[in-house]
């Protein structure tokens, strides 16, 4: 009864929450409005609504300048991100299954090794990695980026999957074994489908990291046509002046796929974090 009554306190709380929401929306407002404003207005009156709406920058960005076009870098970002996610899910879930179900000592040892991989900063090894990748022709192409990301994010993936698998009752696997399934069939048909919530979490977390990355794409892809969106955005920042409307348009385009994916997989993401299987 108390909770359902609308008092002045409830009203105040609502106003406060709306204000907080407005603050959170401010950057998105800037981004959306800034991308359709004439560039000079972005400097003269950055908060104002656009004097005229101009979608021309989107086509200009699409055509591109210099190395990357928006279309091409969107394609690069998508290929690298999707391929990395798939590789991480396939290899990470298998690795985590072994780690989670290995005998206690071995399992714990392997788990620790992967956790260590999360803690250590990869930047420490960037120069030797670059040099090694160049020797095996993995610099400047998609395959190299996918290998790089799969390696870098494997510890996080295994960490997430292992926690989930450890909480999964062994009964399903035992039932499958008695039912005559091989270890691989047990994993593919019984265990992996049960990992759906955490697979969603892995896909979104790793996908966001790969999609938003600037540093590694700059190091490993710059100078080629395969650069990803963040590098393309950077190419619009000139030494003396930045084309903010162009930058904003590129950012809007780069945000949309991730946002769509998040909305699509939101339920799984939350379940993956909270854990558990409903039978």
């Amino acid at each position: 009864m108390f909770l359902t009554r609308y008092t002045w306190r409830t009203g105040l709380r609502e106003v406060l929450l709306l204000l907080v929401a407005a603050v959170w929306w401010l950057p998105i407002y800037f981004l959306a409005v800034g991308s359709v404003k004439p560039n000079e207005q972005n400097f003269s009156s950055p908060f104002a609504l656009p004097s005229r709406i101009d979608f021309g920058v989107y086509s200009q960005a699409w055509k591109g300048s210099g190395n990357g076009t928006l279309g091409r870098s969107l394609e690069s970002s998508l290929i690298i991100t999707i391929a990395s996610i798939v590789a991480l899910i396939v290899l990470g879930s298998l690795a985590a299954y072994v780690v989670a179900r290995a005998s206690n000592r071995l399992g714990n040892g392997l788990y620790l090794l992967f956790v260590l991989g999360i803690i250590l900063p990869f930047q420490l090894a960037i120069i030797p990695t670059y040099s090694a990748f160049r020797h095996i022709h993995l610099v400047g192409n998609y395959a190299g980026m996918v290998v790089l990301w799969t390696g870098l994010l494997m510890p996080l993936t295994v960490f997430l999957y292992t926690g989930f698998i450890r909480a999964l009752p062994r009964d399903y696997e035992e039932a499958a074994r008695v039912d005559g399934a091989t270890r691989m069939r047990t994993f593919v048909r019984v265990v992996f489908p049960l990992l759906r919530p955490v697979t969603g979490t892995v896909a979104i977390l790793t996908g966001l990291i790969v999609w938003n990355d600037f540093f590694l794409s700059l190091v490993f892809l710059s100078g080629t046509k395969n650069v990803t969106l963040p590098v393309t955005v950077y190419s619009y920042v000139g030494v003396y002046a930045a084309q903010w409307n162009l930058i904003f348009a590129t950012v809007v385009v780069s945000v949309v796929p991730m946002l769509a994916f998040y909305l699509f997989a939101q339920k799984n993401l939350i379940r993956g974090f909270t854990g558990g299987i409903k039978t």
């Binding site: 009752p169 008695v178 069939r185």
Partner: protein, 392 residues
Amino acid sequence: MASVTFSGVDKTYPDGTRAVDQFNLEVEDGEFMIFVGPSGCGKTTALRMVAGLEDITGGELRIDGVRVNDLDPRERDVAMVFQNYALYPHMSVYDNIAFPLASQGIRKSEIRERVTKTAALLGLDEHLKRRPRNLSGGQRQRVAMGRAIVRQPRVFLMDEPLSNLDAKLRVQMRAEISGLQQELGVTTIYVTHDQVEAMTMGDRIAVLRKGVLQQLGRPEDLYDHPANLFVATFVGSPAMNLFEVSPVEGENGLELRIGGRRIAVPPEAPAALREHIGRRIALGIRPEHLLHPRRADDSAPRLSGEVTLVEMLGFERLVHIRLRATPILTEDVLEVARDIDAGTLDRAGEGHVMAVARFDPDVDVAVNSTQDVALRPEKMLFFELESGRAIV
């Protein structure tokens, strides 16, 4: 179908816990064998060893004469029903039942035929497209059964399959499983801690305690001739009444001293009782063998005590009587008491035993009144106190 043979089978965990100790048993072809015992007695471990889910530390396990100690579960051709059913939650009922067949690489048309037949046998036809979470407890149980029988395995293994069902459904499923087993004639090992299930379902029962086989026999053998105090107290509900007695030489032959009284030893009593003269032993008598005086012979030995509770069950009346006698508090009895109801031993008070008599419903007994009970002489059982062994 096949026989299952345990020859000196051991299971010791790395921490030294002995779950199964020198287990010897032969489950015959087509037999319905029950493993029963309190929690932690090793019955599930023994079952899992047959399934191949638990390594065997020592001894030999054979299915149809072939040693299977080192075989993978899928090479053993056994099917198992788990306590919580372990139905694959992401698969439909059809896919759950079809899974073992698909794992064997059987053609889809044959899978369809066999799944449909099994579903019809279990009354699951209408539910084939549903997911396990949308089924009732009884339906889930049937799906688990379906997954086991669709393969036509050599051995069925069932790990407390009815423990998650409510009482009424349990009675129904009990009959269904028994009927199904008889129809299919497949060798079955059924694990339970419920001795009503054990008594009603099995051809033979193996009673386990702390990993050791206590007694193996037909349900009536276990009930009428328990091998020791543990089996005597574990089998039967309400449990067997136990009193501490001491055989003494009286004027008219052997007598039993019980709570300050003396009763004559019936002629049916085992001759070996004489070897225990002057020693303390246990006298056991089932509730239905404590008779209302009107229903007993005049010669039957009697005890008397205060009625503390009368439970009317319709077809019988359970009368709880506080008798002056020394209770049996050996570890065998206490373990069962702890497993069933830890409070039973405390309620009688010092120097008293809370006995339960099973009277006809038409016999009127008032609470707080003094009631005589007659012991059926030929049904009195005797046990050594130290070893717990039956005196025969």
